[in-house]
Amino acid sequence: MPDNTFDAEGHVDRMAAALGLTIDPDHRPGVVANMARTAEIARLVTEFPLPDTVELAPAFRPGEESR
C-alpha cells in the first residue's frame, strides 16, 4: 500500500538543502520518484515491531583492520 503520508517532494527539498546538494531541475523528478519508492519500501521495515534489545547487525571489531 503506498504511503500517502510521506511528502517525497518536500523531503527531497529539505534534505537537499541540509546536505548541500544542488539538484538540477531535470534530475529532480527522478530523485523524487526514487525517494517516494524508498519511503514505501522502508515502511515495510519501520512498521515491523522489534524488541528494544535487538542490536544493530554491523559488527565493529576493535583491533581488526578493515578488509
Binding site: A16, L19, L21, N34, M35, T38, I41, F48, A57
Partner: protein, 460 residues
C-alpha cells in the same frame, strides 16, 4: 584438447602436464577477446602484455619442475571494481576514469596470480555496482552471449558475458544484492557468493560495506571451488575442493516456499522444481519475513551508497549514469531511523533464519524471477503484475545476501530457451555444502554451463 570451452581445472591440468603452454592459452584467449568482444562489451581493458608475462612465468615454473599452482595458466578477468596495477579502477563510472591508476592489485587478484592464474583484463559493470541489468550509459551494455540483444544481468555483467562467451573460464565479480547470482542466472553460469566477510575486499571499490561480497563466476562447480580455495584467507577455512565428490546424498534439502514461490515467471519455478526433483528434495520451508528482508537490504544499500557518493553527487552529478544518480541522491536522503531499523531487522531476521538451518542443510530458491530481458526494457509483467525491471530482478537474491549466506547459483538449461538459475543456499561458512550440491547437479546432467554457441550472429 584445450580450447575456449575448456574449464579452469582442465587448462591447469594440461599446463602442468606440459601438453599446452600457458602462453599458448593466454594468446588464444586474447585472440578470441580481440575478435569477438566488440560485439559483446565484456571488457573495459585488456591486459595483454601483462597476461603474456604472467603466462611465461608459469611456463618457466613448469619447465623448472617447480609448482606452478592449482590454477596454472588459467586466464581470468575481474570486474573493474577490483584494483589492477596500472589501470584506473573505474567501477563502471566516468568519474573514476580520472583517478590515478591503481598502485597495486587487489588482494584477490594477487591470490589468484599466486595460484598460477593469468589476468587478461578488467570487465564492464553497472555503474558503481548499483545495477541488476549489465547496462552502462558510459561504456555500453555487456551483452548476453546467448542472445546479444538481451541483458547479461548486473552488476557483474562483464563477468557473466566473458565467461559465457568463452573468453575466460573464470571471472571475479561482486555481489551486494545479487550481482554475481543475477548474471550467473541470465548467462547460464555457476556463480558463488561466499559467506559475508569470508573473502578479502582489500583493493576493491566499495558500494555498501554492510553487504558487499566478492566471488567467482565459472562454468563448473569444481572451478568455483578451486577459485574459492585459492582466495580464502589463509587458515580461515577448510578447502572445499576435496569434498565436492561427496555429492548431495544425506543432505537435508528443502525448497523455499511462500515468498520464493511467487512473483516470477513459470520458467524460474520450473527450474527450481527440476533441481529439487533431481535432488529428491520434497520438503518446503518458509524463510520468515523475506519481503521485509528485501526491503531492509534495499534501505541499507541505498543509504550507504548515497552516503558514500555524497560528495561526488554534490560536485559531479551530471557525470553519473542517470539511473544510478537518482537512486543515490534519494539514498543520501534516507532518514537515520529507517536505516538503523533496517540494521536491527537484519539481526532479528538472521536469528530466525539460523533456526531454519537447524532443520535443513540447504535451501533451494529461484535466482531471478525471469530469463534475461531485452536490453533497454523498462518494465515487465510478473505473475500478472507490471513492475519496473531494474529494481525487481533481485527480488529473490536480496533477502539472502542481507544476512550474508553463502549461495551458489546453478544454471538450468531450458531446451530452446534462455538459461535461468537456481540458488543453492547454505548456512554461514558452509560453502562446501552448496558447492557439493552444485557439483551433484552437474554430475547428474541437470545443471551445466556450456559456452554460448553462435546461436545468433555474434560468432560466425
Amino acid at each position: 584438447m584445450i580450447d575456449h570451452a575448456s574449464g579452469a581445472l582442465e587448462i591447469a591440468s594440461a599446463v602442468k602436464a606440459g601438453t599446452v603452454s600457458a602462453v599458448e592459452v593466454a594468446r588464444a584467449a586474447l585472440f578470441r577477446i580481440g575478435a569477438l568482444d566488440a560485439h559483446l562489451g565484456a571488457f573495459t581493458a585488456v591486459t595483454a602484455e601483462r597476461a603474456l608475462d604472467e603466462a611465461a612465468a608459469v611456463d618457466a615454473r613448469v619447465r623448472s619442475g617447480g609448482d606452478p599452482g592449482p590454477l596454472a595458466g588459467v586466464p581470468f578477468a575481474v570486474k573493474n571494481l577490483f584494483d589492477v596495477k596500472g589501470l584506473p579502477t573505474l567501477a563502471g563510472s566516468r568519474i573514476n576514469a580520472g583517478h590515478p591508476p591503481a598502485g597495486a592489485d587487489a588482494e584477490l587478484v594477487r591470490r589468484l596470480n599466486d595460484a598460477g592464474a593469468v589476468l587478461v583484463g578488467a570487465l564492464n559493470m553497472g555503474e558503481y555496482a548499483y545495477d541488476f541489468t549489465g547496462e552502462n550509459s558510459h561504456y555500453g551494455p555487456s551483452r548476453n552471449p546467448h542472445d546479444p540483444a538481451r541483458m547479461s544481468g548486473g552488476s557483474s555483467g562483464g563477468s557473466g558475458t566473458a565467461v559465457a562467451a568463452g573468453f575466460v573460464p573464470l571471472a571475479l565479480g561482486s555481489d551486494t544484492n545479487g550481482s554475481i547470482r543475477v548474471p550467473s542466472s541470465f548467462c547460464g553460469l555457476f556463480g558463488l557468493k561466499p559467506t559475508f566477510g569470508r573473502l578479502s575486499r582489500e583493493g576493491t571499490f566499495p558500494f555498501c560495506s554492510s553487504l558487499d561480497h566478492l566471488g567467482p563466476l565459472g562454468r563448473s562447480a569444481a572451478d568455483l571451488a578451486a577459485a574459492y580455495d585459492a582466495m580464502q584467507e589463509p587458515g580461515a577455512g577448510t578447502p572445499v575442493s576435496p569434498v565436492l565428490g561427496q555429492g548431495a546424498e544425506g543432505l537435508r534439502i528443502a525448497v523455499a516456499g511462500d515468498y520464493f514461490a511467487r512473483g516470477g515467471d513459470p520458467a524460474a519455478f520450473e527450474a527450481v522444481a527440476t533441481v529439487a526433483e533431481a535432488l529428491g528434495a520434497r520438503d518446503t520451508v518458509v524463510v520468515p519475513e523475506a519481503a521485509r528482508a528485501r526491503a531492509a537490504a534495499y534501505v541499507i544499500t541505498t543509504a550507504e551508497g548515497g552516503s558514500l557518493h555524497l560528495d561526488r553527487l554534490r560536485t559531479r552529478a551530471a557525470d553519473f549514469d542517470p539511473a544510478t544518480r537518482d537512486r543515490l541522491m534519494a539514498g543520501a536522503m534516507v532518514p537515520v531511523p529507517w536505516y538503523l531499523q533496517a540494521q536491527r531487522f537484519r539481526r532479528w531476521y538472521h536469528d530466525r533464519v539460523m533456526e531454519l538451518f537447524s532443520r535443513v542443510d540447504v535451501i533451494l530458491a529461484p535466482a531471478t524471477p525471469c530469463t534475461a530481458p531485452p536490453i533497454g526494457q523498462q518494465t515487465m509483467v510478473l505473475d500478472g503484475v507490471e513492475m519496473l525491471v531494474r529494481p525487481n530482478i533481485g527480488i529473490f537474491t536480496q533477502p539472502l545476501s542481507l544476512i550474508g549466506l553463502p549461495v551458489v547459483a546453478v544454471p538450468v538449461r531450458r531446451p530452446g530457451g534462455l538459461p535461468v538459475g537456481v540458488q543453492v543456499v547454505a548456512a554461514p561458512g558452509r560453502e562446501d555444502l552448496a558447492l557439493r550440491v552444485a557439483a551433484d547437479l552437474e554430475a547428474k546432467g541437470v545443471c551445466k554451463a556450456p559456452v554460448a554457441r553462435g546461436e545468433t550472429s555474434w560468432e560466425r
